[in-house]
């Protein structure tokens, strides 16, 4: 449908899937909260962006990027492609990252505004990128933060590419930098090659509510950067929070994003009022995400019903515009003596509980494998194969099959492969949190 208004905010809807029935005295309530944003207007490159978005690209220029030289060349071309994907009017900058961070374009602590001329000058500036130096990712992020803070754009985003470990910075410094940047901008992180640390890259993306992935072959960087930038250009609402209100006596056990990836948000809560707290979800385009909410309610007698939690999607107040409630859903608890009702497991809850366990089994299995614990690795990765199989997570099943020989997927019987390519192991670990949607019933 045509949308003649300026890039309008998408409409949000919240659906709650749960089995609300508890046995007498039952206390744990599980629900899958599905948030869908639609109708935000399909934005194309030709559409002026009205200064709603600002993007900083951070390119690793450490010495290792020249080994092999395809990495540096791939990074340069990918950054150029990302710049070509910028919509007119988008504020942007390019940073070269080593043990220090340097502005490549436009410089002097500013952001450029995308148009044909600035795009051409930015790409020209990329030719000057050369490899040399160490890696201190925190410095890159702090420079990006400084640049983005000068922007009034609602959507502030970073794209970070690294090829190695964060060797020239204390982990605590990176940690503190991520904590400081969280909520100020969102960031996608990519590792190119196989010499980087999966947990560092996924940790950056997780803290800054972006995506993480591996680009093992530098030749694929351009395609990946283009897709990533298109995704950023599709964002229309920033800083959306999932607000959970709970009655007196109700404790939140956990809050996890479970689709498209598993992200535990439990510790990310900010109290926002009496018995209410916000969990950050970052920026939204036309997309759908699912959250698993588990709360513990006070036990009650059969026949009683209560509201266990009210899940609201909230856009914060921004310059003049007051805080807006975008959508809400109710998580309920109903006590019944109907055993069939109270013992049933909601299919969505079952599915995403399985997907979360799948991610954990992969991570624990790979960890055990690194430690030389063959039995532990075999058990965990076998369980992962089983879960991926029953839930129809074909992508993860395929990645697992490069690390283990599957004897019986249904039973979860596997053998560890003697020889596993680094790229395959890192791909599995990086993508372990990717989930599939619940199957149609």
């Amino acid at each position: 449908m045509a949308n003649f208004a300026k890039p309008s905010a998408p409409r949000f809807s919240v659906d709650v899937y749960q089995n609300e029935f508890l046995p007498e005295g039952g206390r744990d309530v599980h629900a899958i909260v599905t948030v869908t944003a639609t109708g935000g207007g399909s934005v194309t490159r030709g559409t002026p962006a009205d200064g709603t978005a600002a993007v900083v690209i951070m390119v690793d220029c450490s010495g290792s990027m020249e080994y092999p030289p395809e990495k540096m060349r791939g990074a340069r071309e990918a950054t150029a492609a990302a710049i070509d994907t910028l919509r007119d009017g988008t504020a942007f900058a390019v940073i070269a990252g080593t043990h220090v961070a340097k502005e490549v374009y436009p410089g002097q602590g500013r952001l450029a505004v995308a148009d044909p001329a600035t795009r051409a000058r930015a790409k020209e500036a990329l030719r000057g990128l050369s490899a040399g130096g160490g890696t201190a990712i925190g410095t890159w992020l702090r420079l990006a933060d400084g640049l983005l803070r000068g922007s009034t754009a609602a959507i502030r985003h970073g794209i970070l590419l690294t090829d190695g470990r964060n060797e020239h910075e204390e982990p605590a410094v990176l940690r503190a930098t991520l904590d400081a940047c969280a909520g100020r901008f969102t960031c996608d992180a990519r590792g190119v090659g196989t010499d980087w640390e999966v947990k560092e890259v996924t940790g950056i993306a997780s803290a800054l509510l972006g995506s993480a992935d591996i680009v093992a072959d530098p030749a694929h960087l351009t395609e990946d950067f283009t897709l990533m930038m298109e995704n950023v250009m599709g964002k229309e609402v920033a800083d959306v929070s999932l607000r959970l209100w709970t009655p007196v006596g109700v404790e939140i056990q956990y809050v996890k994003q479970v689709a498209p990836t598993v992200q535990d948000l439990t510790a990310r809560r900010t109290d926002t009022g009496p018995r209410a707290g916000d969990y950050p979800t970052g920026s939204w385009g036309d997309e759908s995400r699912e959250y698993h909410v588990c709360v513990r309610v006070p036990g009650a007698a059969v026949g009683q019903e209560m509201l266990a939690s009210r899940a609201t999607l909230v856009r914060p107040a921004t310059g003049g515009e007051p805080e807006a409630v975008l959508a809400q859903g109710l998580v309920r608890a109903v006590w019944t003596n109907d055993v069939a009702a109270s013992t049933a497991i909601n299919p969505q809850v079952a599915h995403y509980t399985g997907q979360a366990e799948l991610a954990q089994a992969i991570q624990q299995g790979l960890e055990a494998r690194k430690m030389g614990d063959v039995d532990g690795a075999t058990a965990k990765l076998g369980r992962a194969v089983q879960l991926a199989s029953v839930s129809g997570n074909a992508d993860t099943a395929r990645l697992l099959s490069k690390v283990v020989d599957v004897v019986d997927a249904v039973a979860g019987t596997v053998r560890l492969k003697a020889k596993v390519a680094d790229a395959d192991e890192m791909t599995l670990e990086t993508r372990s949190t990717q989930t599939v949607r619940v199957k149609k019933f």
Partner: protein
């Protein structure tokens, strides 16, 4: 099941049944001793009517409400108005309910008489401020008595659901009254009723009562029962004033109710768990009593003269009833089985073989028809038990009587939703006891196929 021939010798159309003026169609297979019919004395005992005061009764009825003459503190009698609702217990502490002390409600918010085991059903140990002043200008939660009730009907403090309109519904028209209650063990009321009064073409009054019980294992049972009760009621209100025969009208009303329930189902062929419900209806018109039903909701006849024997007028579409009817089990054994209450007939999209049962009676003595769901009759199964629970002045205080019956079920544990309509039946004209049936429209031949009860 074939053979409507029951223990009463299957009276043909118009053939008088002993003790009743006539049965204008094949009688349903009634439960109980056929002698009941023959021995039912039809004399009026002047000292028994009309009773102005509820007489403390011995037995279950008397024990029903120790210290609670009227369980709801409302509807003291027909004079109280056409409709009394009591769905905001404690919601308006300053408003002042006429009857019970604060907290003495059927929802167990305090120390209600039949709520002893549920003194604090919320178990959250909340000790909030006293109700007074807790919620200026808003409704106060009945559970914690501290929080406001939000627009969703939940307390914004403790989260507990508030009583809904359908949790307890009462309605009284001059000639009929009904009460429906959520009970103590279900979280919502899936029963529905409709009562109405209209006039026949000759100007005489006709009374309609419909009671429906949503099938819990189906989806949206509350919507099913509401749709069925409304549709059947409307169909009868359309048919009776234009002179339709009541039994035919009842048959058509059940079909209309079935169509209304079918319409609730998603238009997916073979969709699972389409909404479903039972139905039982009674029409009192032109000196006739017409009953129709599908499922296990029931109608009982309780003569005003309590020396006469009461009767059950319906035969359940249930596993137990089928076992008994087929002679495979004794009544006690069948009803003790876990499958006893599995119903074999209902209204709804899954019911591919709908068989409405209808029957028409011409009682020659006054009495009361009790039309109810199993939430009541589980606590007063036999006609004799029902008659014991029904107050003696039921004919003149139908609403109060319905309240007492609901209270009886709550006292018994209130394990299901409870709905009952009380329909007084007065004989139209002076009639000699045991007189031969009068000729008239009522005795006209019936459409046999539709009238034949399926048992």
């Amino acid at each position: 099941m074939p053979a409507p021939a029951g223990p009463h010798g299957s009276p043909g159309a118009g053939e008088p049944a002993p003790g009743w003026g006539s049965v204008a169609a094949a009688a349903p297979t009634l439960v109980g001793d056929p002698a009941d019919w023959a021995t039912a004395p039809a004399q009026h005992r002047p000292e028994q009517e009309p009773e102005q005061e509820p007489e403390p009764r011995p037995g279950p009825a008397g024990a029903a409400y120790p210290g609670h003459e009227n369980p709801y503190g409302a509807g003291q009698g027909p004079a109280d108005g056409p409709e009394t609702r009591h769905d905001r217990p404690g919601g308006d502490p300053a408003g002042g309910h006429p009857g019970p002390p604060p907290g003495a409600t059927p929802w167990g918010t305090g120390e209600g008489a039949h709520e002893a085991p549920h003194e604090n059903p919320y178990e959250n140990g909340y000790d909030g401020p006293p109700p007074s002043g807790a919620a200026p200008g808003g409704k106060t939660c009945v559970a914690c008595r501290a929080g406001h009730v939000d627009t969703d009907g939940y307390c914004e403090h403790c989260g507990h659901a508030q009583p809904r309109e359908r949790d307890h519904v009462e309605e009284e028209l001059g000639s009929v009254a009904a009460v429906s209650d959520r009970g103590l063990r279900h979280h919502r009321n899936e029963d529905s009723f409709a009562v109405s009064a209209t006039a026949l073409p000759d100007g005489s009054a006709a009374t309609v009562a419909i009671v429906c019980d949503g099938v819990s294992s189906a989806s949206r049972p509350d919507e099913a029962s509401a749709a069925a009760a409304a549709a059947a009621n409307e169909a009868l209100l359309e048919a009776l004033p234009r002179g339709a025969h009541p039994q035919e009208a009842m048959h058509e009303a059940i079909l209309a109710a079935a169509a209304a329930v079918n319409a609730l189902a998603p238009e997916v062929p073979g969709a699972q768990n389409a909404p479903a419900c039972t139905l039982v209806g009674a029409v009192v018109s032109g000196g006739l009593l017409t009953i129709g039903w599908v499922g296990d909701s029931r109608a009982y006849w309780v003569p005003d003269d309590r020396a006469a024997l009461p009767r059950r007028l319906t035969e359940d579409d249930s596993w137990a009833a089928q076992m008994v009817a087929a002679g495979l089990m004794g009544e006690a054994e069948a009803y003790a089985d876990v499958r006893a209450h599995a119903i074999t007939g209902w209204l709804g999209a899954d019911a591919y073989d709908l068989e409405p049962h209808t029957a028409i009676f011409k009682p020659d003595h006054p009495g009361v028809v009790v039309v109810c769901t199993d939430g009541l009759w589980n606590y007063a199964e036999s006609a004799r038990e029902m008659a014991q629970v029904l107050p003696a002045d039921a004919a003149v205080r139908p609403l109060h009587s319905a309240q007492v019956l609901v209270g009886h079920a709550l006292d018994g544990g209130g394990h299901d939703n409870i709905t009952v309509a009380v329909v007084p039946f007065a004989t139209q004209t002076e009639r000699e006891p045991g007189a031969a049936p009068e000729p008239g429209p009522a005795a006209a031949p019936e459409p046999e196929v539709e009238a034949r009860p399926q048992v």
